[in-house]
Amino acid sequence: MTETKVSIKNLYKIFGKSPEKMLPLVQKGLSKSDLLDQHNHVLGIDNVSLEIPEKQIQVVMGLSGSGKSTLIRHINRLIEPTGGEILIDGEDVLAMSETQLRELRRKKTSMVFQKFGLLPHRRIGENVAYGLNIQGVPDDEATKRARHWIDRVGLTGYEDHYPGQLSGGMQQRVGLARALATDAEILLMDEAFSALDPLIRFDMQSILLELQEELHKTIIFITHDLDEALRLGENIAILRDGSMIQQGDAQEIVLKPADDYIADFTKDINRAKVIQLRALAKPVAIFDGPTLRGATVLDEALSPLAQAPDQTVGVVNRAGELLGAVTLTDAIEALHG
């Protein structure tokens, strides 16, 4: 459907004194706890492969210690892997020289951090222009472009403030504007909204979704929050103890959890607001009666379903083609999981 932008293949990261010696053992199946007990090395990433499609939001989810922040730092090589491959646009990131890597970080990727990582001695305008200054963009050009992005994240008028004078939510808008200002195609967001309180987090998610609608960047978003993952992620990958345990879209994660761990995760979410009709549609040859769009969530579909003849509606895609039919019973069963 879409091209792969970032491709991670059989990635391993082992922390400790001699990770290279441990790699073959781990590849032969030595477990994380045995590695720690017998060899005093920590397995950070365990054979992770992930194809990240371009122009979409790929969420990587996991609890703390699952290796998600380690994983995202491999993409721009802030952390060196112990084994495996990372390709961006088919280019081998691990084979890059210092200079090529710097070029990649300047032009192709940009990053938003959990703790913002703003430069406390530079004003907001200068912070947003930082990536451009590093690239050597002339000052007035950089200021102009920075101002544009400051406006876009809703911080007009704050150019001359220092980061320390802004609230956490506003600081992260600066972080986002700084990352967008370089026009990089890949946006790495490491728990970008995790430090913010729930209302502001929701606002920031809205800003991101709104910007994404027109910018179409490849976004890799790390989070430990399932609601956030389901709201933002077109694709979701779940990590535990450094290994990938499930990949798929929100529907698959909620309706077909790969194991009890994920089922446990999804237990508390509001299924009515996540599950879409397209995930429940059973194929039918023809259907005449009321139809609903496949992207309709159950929350909105229940009352049309109850009112429909036979309590059944047809499900159509954006183009109006019939995907199948859903009954009220199907919907209620899906709600109860």
């Binding site: 940009s110 406390p120 001695h121 690239q135 700084r178």
Partner: protein
Amino acid sequence: MEFLLEFPALGRRTLSGMKQAVDETFKAFSRTYGEALENFFDPLLQFLIWLEKLLLAAPWPIILLIVGGLSWLGSRSWKVTIGAVAAFVVIGIFDMWEDTMATLAIISVATLVCIVVGIPLGVLMSRSDRTQGIITPILDVMQTIPSFVYLIPVVMLLGIGKVPGLLAVCIYALPPIVRLTNLGIRLVDKDVLEAADAFGASPRQKLLGVQVPLALPNIFAGINQTIMMALSMVVIASMIGVKGLGVPVLRAISNQYLALGLMNGLAIVALAIIFDRVTQSYGKRLQAYRQGHGND
């Protein structure tokens, strides 16, 4: 029994032979390289002489104006500015103007030398733990060894005069600026550095754009300490021929002139307080950005 009561030291002959060997070697070294070293330090000497002459030749009202102006620029406080000018007026009234100018000249040049040598050294030290491991003990020795001990080789090499005095002051005053530059750079937030890395900053861009600016308050505390320590060396430096407020103090010690010693001593204290207040408040203003408000 005798063995236990008296420490089995090397024999007197062996020891004096060793001492003589060291002395001879150093004398040979100083004969060979003394002149080259003197030539090396000549530009510094010329600069020091030029500054001293300039300060002495300038009309006193202009000096007062400059003192007031610099104090205001540094501290932005009327109290400090008026205090500084008043102190210089009192110094002038008590006829210590010329000695004070000479001291001011050597302190300025010594501080400048310490900054030029110390900051790069501190940066180097912050780059690797090994360099830090090598330089730290050297700094410790520089700070603790009695000044008279390193005056001996300095005087043997360069004789008596301004340059050896300047060197003695610098040896004693250099450590704080090196230490605090190193510390300041090491204390820079790792998250901020990671952000700089993620945007593709080169090592140079990181150093000049992130590490040094964020370490500046600490570096400034180092400069402040360096100035204070340089001032405390004024009397000792006067023993090897540096003019200034130390000379009358030295005379007062050998002749038991209480008033003379006290007056010149207080003048040194006044200089120290002015330098300290001005540099400290300037250092504080450097971190104005840290005083955030509206944080949640």
